[in-house]
Symmetry: C2
Subunit: 350 residues, 2 copies
Amino acid sequence: MEEIERSAKPPTLAMVAARAGVGRQTVSYALNMPQRVAPQTLAKVRAAIDELGYRPNRVARSLRTQATRTIGYRIQPTPHGVPSPVLDRFVHALAGTARRQGYNILLCAAEDDGEELEVYDELIRTAAVDAFVLSDPVYDDPRPAWLAERGVPSVSFGRIWGREHASAWVDVDGAAGTRAAVDHLVELGHRQIAFLGRPEDRATVDDRFRGWKSAVQDHGLSVRGRVVRGPAESLGQAREVAARLFGGKRPPTAVVASHDLLAIACYHEATRRGLRIGDDLSVVGFDDSLPALMAQPALTSINQPLELVGQEIVRLVVGILAGELPPDHEVVLQPSLVVRESTRPATPHH
Amino acid sequence: MEEIERSAKPPTLAMVAARAGVGRQTVSYALNMPQRVAPQTLAKVRAAIDELGYRPNRVARSLRTQATRTIGYRIQPTPHGVPSPVLDRFVHALAGTARRQGYNILLCAAEDDGEELEVYDELIRTAAVDAFVLSDPVYDDPRPAWLAERGVPSVSFGRIWGREHASAWVDVDGAAGTRAAVDHLVELGHRQIAFLGRPEDRATVDDRFRGWKSAVQDHGLSVRGRVVRGPAESLGQAREVAARLFGGKRPPTAVVASHDLLAIACYHEATRRGLRIGDDLSVVGFDDSLPALMAQPALTSINQPLELVGQEIVRLVVGILAGELPPDHEVVLQPSLVVRESTRPATPHH
DNA sequence: CCGGTTGTGTGGATCGTTCCACATGTGGAA
DNA sequence: TTCCACATGTGGAACGATCCACACAACCGG
């Protein structure tokens, strides 16, 4: 007889009020400002809430408060069939932390950067989100300012360069990562340590480059002829870039790559030349992605604390929306070197 | 002087009505049932909409219609540090298609399966979503029925076995994939073709197994002693499983793996035994993930049409919500074999 | 005993849209 | 002419929460 009613209409705040024998507003206070209501009344209201299994309707609340407690995030398109390996750990952390803070993550997809702003515009004008999380910022990224003009705060994964508009971001200290890689290689006895990276279109790569450069110099080693840069949108492209490593008369004994993809491309080119990774050439990647783990030998790589990044980003978004943090708050997190089999002591005959 | 007003309050339907000199309801009709209003009036209203840059407020609409046009999707946790490589192409397609249909995707995160239902419950009771997309169903998956009891439809990526509750799904024909792999290998001259898979905890693996088995039998080859199964939650585990391939007295010349991870584990074990992939042992993976592309030699693998799966899932969700499709609609899509370097003609000396 | 402050509780108005019921004008069938 | 069907347009009510203004005590110091 105590059968639970299936898919019956959910209880409303008014029903709870009636049940508890109080006014509607009192229930609202009990929910949002418990200290505003007398302890005895609070108990009554809470009992009624539990009995009815009441949960406030998010939509109604949003309409009245003009805030959806929803954060928009554009998931990146997958260029040239090479998906971003970093994505899912990060997004998972984002969604998990958001939930714990009472926020939701709304996904958007856009094919290109022009469409991206269109999508954002749509979401803003239909009042679907309160804020955005951005990722992969470029130099002088227009998005934060564009959003700010429309009254929508944003937090970026990756620091925003260019000072037109101060904006909030959380970034991983890439320089510290490559520095750790160089230190590790020097400790193994390497003296010819190259840097392999994409062109400077994104600040991320530059940051990693600077870490490598200053560390190499600090160890009194030369950076001349040790930098190879080129586009790496696909494995084929990356291999072409990696091939240039072996062109000079004194090839490096170790390589620090700005991405795991380039590191793997290094594997391919080294193997093609009869060099064994680890023994003849040490390689360090960046991102600690799945291919790094799967490579033979397993790739030493720099791990970004993506879970923490996601948490911090949500913390900033919520703080900024609540007015408790300035809209240009910045956070830098430290990566960690994961040593695997691709880095070994330098062999004497080099 | 034509300065655009920054972050001014967005126009409402009432403002559009005033501007066009018509009633509010007329504007609403113009938006949702254009054929209900006279062409001349429609033009006036549309002009007013354009001039003001009006977009209907999603929240208000949701409150009134009791539908959010939002679909929930739980992104899977990443077990043991090995993320699902399949995720991001799929999610991107999901979000893109949803947007084109006027729907949004809301992400949820849950650590374990118990928490998953809790999260769903919260979203349902706060009226945040209209439907859910499920993935990685298990045998007799309780989720569709649980959701249906609460009046919420769902569509699963992966077929739902068990007949307690008929439910909608979109799946890739895994058996056709492994069958294609076997056909390909037989054509290359292989006669000892093994299957490497996880235990039958998920229907997916079973499906792939059946394809391999029937294809092998159809070619008049033996399946005896050619099946190796075991847990593959990490690369280490997978290698242990793969190692069993080489135990017997007549090791296979070719392997069909139920996942790329297992295929890669095969690479490792083969290499450890001095066998060359391609020359001494042909390997086919499943999922066509990034590690497959990066492996040396590049792994022949079975590609799932994830973009299409995402599109179809959204189509089903929208159709079911509109009452135009039955809540147990089923769709099967075909995978395709991507031939790379890991499969070569069988060598005579085997 | 008064004016003021604080603590607590309340119902009406409101957010922006769609549903509902109804008003009007037109035209064709009876 | 009468009647009904149909096309078109309208304002009030409703969705379910919060904001606002206010009511009513209790308590304070003067």
